[in-house]
């Protein structure tokens, strides 16, 4: 079943496909917060999160013709964003292991990087300290587990949607979520 929102979205996508730049700007506006947020939680800092989010939309623009409307647009866009995030994390890890002095600093780094987290006052659910602990625990997951956990619990995707986004069978997604939950539990149990 298509909701009214989906139909509006499909119309905007079609116009963007036809080369209408204003329609594409509308798409960016619709998805920028979601894409930015998942990128931010994946890479752990604002500057790289913006780079990833921007690159995501450039890829979307270049590949609009390849978008298959039988999948949700959001699923497709999350796939691009999470893949770009994982790529960036891989590159970062490589650079870190080359530079021995910085290696091992990855886990500490996010503390400083997250210091500039700007939150709307209405979203002040956890204290800043707790926010950092939780983000730190998430950063402790390997990227492939992190991506699945974020799509599940931050973007609220169903197991089926995650399976489509990361292009792995549902059974694999379940395993990663189970292990991801256990890993986070061990880190956050004394909070």
């Amino acid at each position: 079943m298509w909701s009214k929102l989906d139909i509006t979205e499909q119309r905007i996508i079609q116009e963007a496909k036809n080369g209408n730049r204003d329609a594409f700007a509308e798409l960016v506006d619709l998805y920028k917060d979601k894409v930015y947020h998942v990128s931010y939680r994946m890479v752990g800092n604002r500057q790289e999160a913006e780079d990833v989010a921007q690159e995501t939309f450039l890829r979307v623009y270049a590949n609009l013709d390849n978008y298959d409307p039988q999948y949700k647009f959001s699923t497709w866009i999350y796939r691009i964003a999470s893949n770009l995030s994982i790529d960036l994390l891989r590159k970062r890890k490589k650079n870190l292991s080359i530079d021995a002095e910085i290696s091992g600093a990855e886990g500490v780094d996010w503390h400083d990087r997250l210091a500039d987290t700007g939150k709307g006052p209405e979203e002040e659910v956890l204290t800043d300290e707790l926010q950092e602990e939780v983000q730190g625990a998430i950063m402790g997951l390997s990227p492939k587990y992190r991506a699945v956990m974020l799509l599940r619990y931050i973007e609220d995707l169903s197991l089926q949607e995650i399976s489509e986004a990361v292009q792995l069978p549902i059974s694999t997604i379940k395993t990663r979520i189970h292990r991801g939950r256990e890993a986070l539990r061990k880190k956050l149990r004394f909070m």
Binding site: G19, R21, F24, A25, V28, D29, K32, D33, V35, Y36, H37, Y40, R41, R46, A49, E50, A53, Q54, F57, L58, Y61, A62, L64, D65, N66, T117, G118, K119, G120, E123, E124, V125, L126, L130, Q131, V134, Q135, I138, M149, Y153, I154, L159, K174, I177, H178, R181, E182, L184, R185, L188, R189, M191
Partner: protein, 205 residues
């Protein structure tokens, strides 16, 4: 039930994939097992923590920066994308191009010489000076006759096609040709004729 199995059930529960009975199994187990009870609470709390992370918004001017970074014209579907989508069409056109190419070279090779091909050579006469092949009255040729850079005169019977390339086909009133009569005057027609022949043989085979 073992604690390990209960923990597995807890995860099914968190995935919203348990039956009523399984849920009851968890509840009755954690009523007596403190470790599992704590484990269950920790899992639920962990999820709540992750869910209540503040939702950071995209920075000011994000959309404008994306729009400024876009290429001027949206990239049209590239040639290779099309190829990937229509492999059969590509194979077919490649076939046509290669066929045409080889026939063109075949064409230019034999362009000057008068030559012909026909079965049962004893049943035809050849006039080398006039570049003419003649099927005399009362004779029968079973098969196709192809003449290049010359003409053909049919007075008798041909049970097949008669083709003159850069030449004329003359038929007398006594002639009987069971196949097609064709005069081909240009290289392209020659290619077309050959393609038709290939196509016909494919269809009839």
């Amino acid at each position: 039930m073992h604690c390990k199995d209960i923990v597995r059930l807890m995860h099914h529960y968190l995935d919203e994939e348990v039956t009523k009975e399984e849920e009851m199994q968890i509840r009755s187990h954690i009523a007596t097992c403190q470790d599992c009870k704590r484990h269950f609470q920790e899992l639920k709390r962990t999820i709540a923590f992750v869910q209540s992370l503040s939702h950071t918004k995209a920075p000011e001017g994000f959309t404008d920066r994306v729009m400024a970074a876009l290429p001027k014209e949206r990239r049209k579907v590239s040639f290779f994308d099309r190829i990937k989508r229509h492999p059969l069409l590509v194979a077919a056109s490649l076939f046509v191009v290669l066929m045409a190419g080889s026939m063109m070279s075949f064409w230019t090779q034999g362009q000057e010489r008068f030559e012909f091909s026909a079965p049962q050579a004893q049943n035809i006469k050849v006039d080398e000076d006039r570049h003419m092949v003649i099927v005399p009255a009362g004779r029968t040729v079973e098969g196709d006759i192809v003449v290049r850079n010359g003409s053909i005169q049919v007075d008798g019977d041909v049970k097949g096609n008669v083709v003159a390339i850069d030449g004329e086909v003359y038929t007398a009133s006594t002639a009987h040709i069971s196949g097609e009569v064709e005069e081909i005057h240009e290289a392209l027609e020659w290619v077309w004729y050959n393609l038709k022949k290939v196509f016909n043989s494919l269809v009839s085979s």
